[in-house]
Symmetry: C2
């Protein structure tokens, strides 16, 4: 059934209303005018600075309709933006969705996508405050904009790591990329032999949880000197952090927390943990003298290395054996 733009807008209004009424830490009071005007009007609390991030979710690049349920696509779309807010130690306030859909897309797909997105928005008290809709020239195209807030001057940047700081990562790495690897190998098989991946065995890929609470606690306690989320993969994101801070790093391969995936669960290869993207964990540095707990808000924190002078990023694979860590790159679903 084709989806006229008017029906789509009505759908998005409906879901925006649903999102506005939900959320434990509801942000509705900050959104003065939402969908239905030329702009949304936000009023942030005084003494807060405004955090803004935008992230594409493009069919064939960031997701595939034969791999991801509509709910997962909606969840992941918003999670990408929320994770950027988490990486600044901020709290999300409002989201904006630009959504272009092929004319022949079933309305049910949109409703299920919306439900996935809205469920996550409600959980974090985020109001869907606006966006744009269009017919797509090909494939489903979404761009999510998330606005967050942090106390003035307290947002945690990438550029403030210093030599001697310890490097930590939250949760486990490589779980999301392991799901992609599995789906790619299934896709190569004959259609009859293909097995559909069980989404519940790979939650970090299909329903990543942005580390909002962890990011806020780390900022409030003053335990972090710099932070980034692992959206592109440890090797690339650590390189970003080091480049922006003008420092180098040493990482101990044995310390990297590798995800356990599948049923029965097995530990992912080091390569996936180093280079696989879209885990949406927090990678942060702690200044000397700050004791970091082994977990915060039930999320394990692991020290994996140390910031150094210079600009090289070195991976220790065995005692006294090391190599330069090349940014491996997360290429999404390109082959």
């Amino acid at each position: 059934m084709p989806l006229p733009e008017k029906a789509l807008i009505a759908e998005i209004r409906r879901l925006a209303k649903a999102s506005a009424s939900g959320g434990i830490r509801g942000s509705k009071r900050f959104v003065f005018t939402g969908i239905g005007d030329d702009c949304a009007v936000l009023r942030l609390p005084p003494q807060q600075e405004c955090l803004i991030t935008t992230d594409f979710s493009l069919e064939g690049i960031h997701f595939r309709r034969d791999w991801h349920s509509p709910e997962s696509v909606g969840h992941r779309c918003l999670a990408r933006g929320l994770s950027d807010i988490a990486a600044m130690g901020g709290k999300p306030v409002a989201a904006f969705l630009s959504l272009a859909l092929p004319a022949d897309l079933p309305q049910l797909w949109v409703r299920r996508f919306a439900n996935g997105l809205i469920s996550l928005a409600r959980k974090y008290g985020v109001t869907l405050a606006g966006g744009d809709t269009a017919e797509s020239p090909g494939g489903i195209l979404a761009d999510i904009i998330v606005v967050g807030a942090a106390p003035k001057g307290k947002s945690v940047l990438r550029s403030t790591a210093r030599p001697g700081d310890r490097i930590f990562v939250s949760g486990e790495l490589g779980g999301s990329a392991a799901a992609v690897e599995r789906m790619q190998s299934e896709t190569k098989k004959d259609k009859a032999k293909r097995q559909k991946l069980d989404q519940r065995s790979y939650p970090r890929h299909f329903y990543p949880e942005p580390r909002i609470e962890l990011g806020c606690i780390l900022r409030e306690k003053g335990w972090v000197s710099a932070m980034i989320d692992t959206s592109d993969g440890l090797s690339i994101d650590l390189a970003h952090l080091c480049e922006e801070s003008g420092v180098g790093a040493e990482v101990d391969a044995a310390l990297i927390p590798r995800a356990r995936v599948g049923k029965p669960s097995t530990e992912v290869d080091l390569g996936l943990a180093l280079h696989g993207g879209e885990d949406y964990e927090l990678l942060f540095t702690a200044p000397p003298g700050k004791r970091i707990p082994s977990q915060i808000a039930a999320i394990p924190l692991t020290q994996i290395g140390r910031i150094t002078r210079g600009s090289k990023i070195v991976l220790h694979t065995q005692p006294n054996v090391f190599q330069e860590l090349e940014p491996g790159g997360w290429q999404h679903f390109r082959r």
Copy 2:
């Protein structure tokens, strides 16, 4: 020459830097951290509210590479967002660009697109503060996010027109749609007989000027009760304003300012002035007792009708002859 994502990001950084240093009413002091972190950090002046708008510019839907120069695509991309800020009576502060490009797009196209966008950003003192980049699964895909500011509680909404208010429009209407009509008719001809449209004869289509200054003056003087920009066309945008305000309207066809286009210039048909979109003029209502000048900032203002009770929008075509004005719809380049 293919465009690796890294080169693209470098290009956007370069242009963002260029935009940050420009602008008479430079907004750089409001942008604390821009491109290069998980989020941009903005600090709006106290007592201001934050305006946010997002607008797609998709190849084949909003522009065509054989019709529009890269500079025009870049200019129109940002102009769409700036016009939404103008329609709230706001001042633009920062822009964010999500840009997905086909792997085989020449880097020159990106540079020229960026130059068109940046020139407009500099003119209005807008900092390009972030965004996202990706490989496109097909066609050039841009989403522009513009953040603006207005004094708290003073943003001009669509929903506040009242019966008895007069309806005004800035500039002329139908000029942008006339260009599309001409290009469509040329495209149908044999390739040898086609004439390339002279962009200078249709400036309102290729280089629309957002009515930022006009919108601010109208708000500051208290001359407007409600406002919207004519991005979808007079008939649709007036319907939006009336629907949000819960009112009807009467419009006098003879009063609608029709654009003069081409060389030698001719006046566009009433249909284009009524239903043609993308003129980015301001459509606003003035409360009784407010005298509206015939022009502001060298832009003519024309009274075209009046807000009424009820919900009908009526078009007077001759004395005592009228018909219901159906929203005509601006379908961009779809046929």
